[in-house]
Symmetry: D2
Subunit: 305 residues, 4 copies
């Protein structure tokens, strides 16, 4: 960065961790937290930084959010793309949201980041109850991307939904990803599921959007939308069975600062990862466009006879 402008060269971001309480984790040095990565890191590396979870800590997502803020600017300024994610489900409580209209302001009206005020109230109460009980909750984040032009995404291996799925499943605590009609769409028949095309002025549109804005891995100009499942926080303030590093059965009770529900914190991380994926695909598509040369004439009318 120089004079308020990027230089075209890589941008490096540094976030010092000024609020560490390593002592909270001392027991974790010798006991594996259930459904955490303590055991798998020891199995892989034979060695592990137990302070705050080390590399496995969700603190690492701060870097993703910082980088995503730059990608989001590029997408907004150059391409008019808007990304909005929100908490759609906490435990068994689901929100009702009009995904075509929801805004970031709607999302930020409450601390659970759910734009449905009634659901938000019940979610907040449920999280509070879980906290008091030493328990935790999971849920679902929904995300829409508006304004992608048709043509972003690559054939076969780097389909947009493939890159989005990888980005989402690379986030801590995620267990699932679905785009457009998702798992529920498997209940439908092809005639019910297909998105009929129609012309709206000079723009090709679809009547429904079960494709989730992506067909054959490439955007069709409709809103991209997808959902991400987050498991309940693994750290709970109750005694659980586990094993220790000497490979003996043992018990462990959670300590330290832990959210009983990561969902509201997950919202900006999901948005950041989407921005990073889209910025990459936008750059790749731009290079294709430039290389494409003169446009190809349409087939003549009589070929369809």
């Amino acid at each position: 960065m120089f004079d308020g402008r990027t230089l075209g060269t890589p941008i490096s971001l540094l976030i010092p961790n000024e609020n560490a309480r390593s002592d909270d984790y001392r027991e974790v040095q010798v006991k594996y937290r259930p459904s955490h990565a303590d055991y798998t890191y020891d199995a892989k590396y034979g060695f592990r930084d137990w302070r705050g979870g080390g590399r496995t800590s969700a603190r690492e997502t701060a870097g993703r959010v910082a980088a995503g803020a730059i990608a989001r600017k590029l997408l907004a300024t150059m391409h008019g793309v808007e990304i909005v994610a929100w908490v759609a489900k906490v435990g068994r409580l689901s929100a009702e949201t009009d995904s075509e209209r929801v805004t970031r302001d709607d999302v930020d009206t409450n601390i659970i980041r759910c734009p449905d005020p009634d659901a938000a109230e019940r979610m907040i109460a449920a999280v509070e109850a879980a906290r008091k009980d030493g328990n935790s909750l999971g849920g679902v984040v929904s995300c829409v991307v508006r304004g992608c032009p048709p043509g972003w995404g690559e054939p076969v291996f780097d389909r947009m939904e493939a890159d989005l799925a990888k980005a989402m499943l690379s986030l801590p605590a995620t267990k699932g990803f679905e785009i457009g009609s998702g798992f529920a769409g498997t209940d439908l028949s092809g005639l019910e599921h297909n998105d009929a095309f129609y012309m709206e002025g000079d723009r090709v549109r679809t009547r429904t959007n079960r494709s989730g804005g992506v067909q054959g891995g490439i955007t069709n100009g409709e809103t991209v939308f997808f959902r991400v499942a987050f498991k309940p926080t693994a750290t709970v303030m109750r005694e659980q069975d586990t094993v220790n590093v000497w490979h003996e059965d043992d018990t462990l009770k959670g300590r330290g600062r832990h959210d009983p529900c990561v969902l509201p914190r997950a919202v900006p991380v999901v948005e950041a990862m989407v921005a990073l994926v889209l910025a990459d695909l936008a750059l790749r598509h731009t290079a294709v466009l430039e290389a494409a040369g003169p446009s190809v004439p349409l087939p003549e009318r009589n070929t369809s006879g």
Copy 2:
């Protein structure tokens, strides 16, 4: 390949397409099939091979299956890894399967590749009914991987579930991926969801496996399992609304050879992609192991006090 052995150098596979009927696709040259990639390819490239769907055809997955067969051999021979996928759901019909015991032989007992014989029978009938109706069905493929040692997968961006999710969503017609407890796991609390560790002989095990064999992106030695949603086949033999390449509203009726349900054909493709992902992660882990040097001593017992 030479003398029945690989040479360490890349292996090239060529599958000639000896059964093409391009004429079946002539109408597709000028009309966009709903929920296909005809429009998005035109939007991206300004040009499209309409014969058989061109690059967007699921025929490309034949190459993945061929490559996956080699990866599977490496995994089976060197690491004792076994991969089994099956059709778990067709339309609204679900199978009941013991995922710890199901074998490839069980899967191959019927043409729908579903190891639950009762469900299989009903699925086959449902697909036949859809075919007669010119309609189509989607469904879910389940997959288990048995025998992965603890330690496969990389931190942060290349978690095993992230690579699996990308591999699955790169397949044609996929709309969702979930590992372990998946979306249903968001209904549980942390106390219900956590996988308690215990010792089984000298092996660290978990009592439940909601993690799906992966914790922090790295295998823990339990069975890896996940599910993939496939939408109903987009080509249906009924007239549908669409637009043509001259950007006019139009109608199109499906023609050509199309499965009314891709699920049974998806099973070997899912297995192949899993094998390719695992073989890569196994090689990466091997390099880490070798570089790790002498093992680190365990902490002394009194450090946990």
Copy 3:
């Protein structure tokens, strides 16, 4: 490819080897040819395809030439870039060539691909003498690229000269790469070596071109030029000391079809690799350009005071 146009999707090329004489190589199965890769492949893989040299054969460069032909078309059509390589040295015989003017037609006037007719004649005679003597010769290929716009190449790791150097040293039999003033430039002082800028109309030019068209890894609009050293062909038709696969001292005499000098055949391979490197950097630069947004105003005049 479809209807004479590329589809935007990967292009696959297949060249069947219809002229193999594997029997010529039977002795190579058990004896390591000096200065060939027989021993190192055995050391790496424990197994080797001895027929025609297998993967180490320079036959693999045919694929590079085929792919490079496509990259060259893109560069010529979209960017007006022209690439000319020629044989500049064979054994101790050097050519004199005006690198600013030499054309591909000049290069193709003789079988040694040297645009200096006098030198070409002597080179051809030297190669013929080497052949009769069962000996071989090396040499140098020079290459110029005209018409690169300023701005191609990336900072730090993917400088254009770094990518060119890798591309050239990836060719069989290469031992060196130099760009612009190269090794000879180390004899000069900074005052002698620097390329003074001047304006030619509205174009920034340099009076000399010791930079070889690249400054800080990025093209400056001058002609890119570089030289590549090729060692003498390792296969000679005379008995040489070597060892065999049972690790005993042995002797070996070359057989089969081998050029006593690879230089003329190297010319199109060098051109092809340059085209591939430049096409990649051109695409990367295009994406940068598109992402750059509105141009930055020049500093005000009084800032230089």
Copy 4:
């Protein structure tokens, strides 16, 4: 890093620049330094950080040296590999060095980092004379790598010499790379140039080492050696013709802190880049080894008949 050990996860290094004198560069904001990257960065990005040369400054190599120190440790500890680079030429002055025996201690006996004491003395005097004259000198760094096992390096595109060439040409001020016999080797015939194999105990050796320790891109167990050409420092303390950012002819005289010869500082940077390249190739080879499975039996003796 934790408790003095690496964790298997990426290591991040930060070097604050605590000694910047941006005012020395103010004139560079509006005038392009000859044979620097000021103009090409403006041409590429339309914007440039003129303070200290910004991204084009050789200061960036500090990060390479820091990272290389870790790679060197891995190579030394795990594989017994030793890397020694030295200044072999400054201006027209060349050193005489026994590359099989030279040590890092020999190199560090003088400030010019040349292990030939007589040459070192003359080089130091030449650099001092250049400094007084406001002029600068280039030269050549030689490098040897001892102890690489046979088998490191990959076929075709990622040959070891290709990766080394890219690494070297990615360094600021480099103009050439040659391995083994290099450009001088083109003077020899094949019979003179070939490295005859012989057995030394149970080890396959070569009598000469014109291959530079690499055959077909893969190490053969002999010493790897190569040379890198560095141009004279572009910044000279004398007035030179140039153009300014308003595209007018102008003049510029160097200011600020600049070495009249970068060669001694280049030595650790060359070593660092070699270590990074070798560590990568070592990891890749390790993965191959592990995947290779049981070794292939040698051909039977009578096959050579």
